[in-house]
Subunit: 278 residues, 2 copies
């Protein structure tokens, strides 16, 4: 994500974009060498404190819990007036940590809605953010000027800024991303339960199962980072989901064909409407 | 499905396949005209009894509950010795009805594992069955010769015959097809529950949600036919699924990262293994 950001900012800088000098910070010399070779950055640094010391804008593009660990160091090292933006997948815990930064810094939360399943600079692409929604979560202390700067940055990436509270963000991504992951993983787990039948079932498996279970293949470290920083919203949606499965079960057990038809037709129409709107 | 079967059998007949003369039966004159124009059938008929009277092999390619309604008519009209094969999506109820056919007939259940989401002859394709699993459910009364004839037919279509009991078939398709439908539909329903949040969530919707909910777009009539003829197996898998969601909820609520990591890593590996085997 950081590599794609650098490439996108570099491309926009040529068109007069906001970031004219880019410093790449990573623990990995390989990543920094690759970023330099690709012309993505002007300078590199393996030390976070040194890397952020001169920056007008610090962008943290690590997993959510790494961001939580890095923020106190950024607070000590960044120069007064610097904007601190993160790209973490969940926002409530991170925005609370952003709020604890020294008053001279300008924090704002961010989350570009463009999943990147492959890590490392080799997977970076300048067009990753294009036409994607980029959520910004200003804190009560975030100034209008900082929000405007962040929006300008988002637009320079070709993304569409959307301002949300951290809580609204976390509820929404729990619904459309974390709950589907939980649903897919539990589907695979349910079929796990009967090993003998599963290999048979898989012989028969249609594309429907493959699609519905695809998210179960997600990177576990990435998902743990998300699950451990957004448990309450996910649990709430899981409960709603379980209620809906129970409702379907009840209609099935009652052989209530008219009720099933109503229920499933409404669902089908809703999904078609969402699909058309997306 | 019937149109695709006729086209596939026609193509195999030119290579010496088993079905040299094909009679198309449909209530729809348009369907029959299209099948005739495509050279898929030698003769057509809108009346089921007349259509099956001369046949050595009767193939019923309607939805499951239409098959249940048609079987008594086929029992009266088919000539002694005729094989009766159906292509219904669920097998236990249909195999019970096949078993009630007159003793002079040779019944066997079938289910080609190749979903066709579009109906009508315009959507028919000769290659639909190629390399797909085609389940055959012989009854206790089915002779070895009838099973061999059905297997020959399946191979003429380019499909791979797999013999299962009706109960094993219904359990397996409930797991890999009907449960994923229930999971996808309930996912859409869960997001339904909060209309205001949903439009927001959908603005953010990633491809993960789209894949996981795709089956909720399935044709409701087709799915009702399946749900109403396979409720017990589906309810059993729904209960296992709900148990798994509950297990995930418990790990999340306990913030048990090690437990979550174990659980999700096992699931990820299992899906990867199935995916590689499929």
């Amino acid at each position: 994500m950081g590599g794609s950001l650098a490439l996108a900012l570099r491309a926009s800088a040529a068109r007069g974009g906001p970031a004219q000098r880019l410093i790449g910070v990573s623990r990995s010399q390989e990543t920094l060498a690759a970023a330099t070779a690709a012309g993505a950055v002007d300078a590199t640094c393996t030390n976070l404190a040194d890397g952020v010391a001169e920056a007008d804008l610090v962008v943290l593009a690590t997993p959510a819990r790494a961001i939580l660990r890095q923020l106190p160091l950024v607070g000590q090292a960044a120069r007064p007036g610097a904007i601190v933006l993160d790209l973490g997948s969940t926002k409530a815990q991170i925005c609370a940590a952003l709020d604890a930064l020294p008053p001279a810094l300008q924090p704002i939360g961010g989350h570009p809605m463009c999943g990147k399943e492959t890590a490392g600079f080799a997977a970076a692409e300048a067009g990753l953010f294009r036409a994607k929604t980029f959520v910004l979560c200003p804190l009560p202390r975030t100034t209008a000027q900082t929000l405007a700067s962040a929006q300008e940055l988002v637009q320079a990436l070709g993304a569409r800024p959307l301002t949300l509270t951290p809580q609204a963000h976390d509820r929404a991504v729990a619904a459309i991303s974390h709950l589907p992951y939980a649903a897919a993983a539990s589907l695979v787990a349910a079929l796990d339960a009967v090993e003998g039948e599963t290999s048979l079932a898989w012989q028969l498996a249609a594309s429907g199962f493959r699609d519905t279970s695809r998210l179960a293949a997600s990177d576990v470290d990435m998902m743990l980072d998300i699950l451990m920083t957004n448990p309450h919203a996910i649990i709430d949606w899981l409960d709603r989901y379980t209620d809906q499965l129970g409702r379907l079960r009840q209609l099935l057990a009652a052989a209530d064909e008219a009720g099933l038809r109503d229920h499933l037709t409404t669902i089908q129409a809703r999904r078609a409407r969402w699909h058309a709107a997306a």
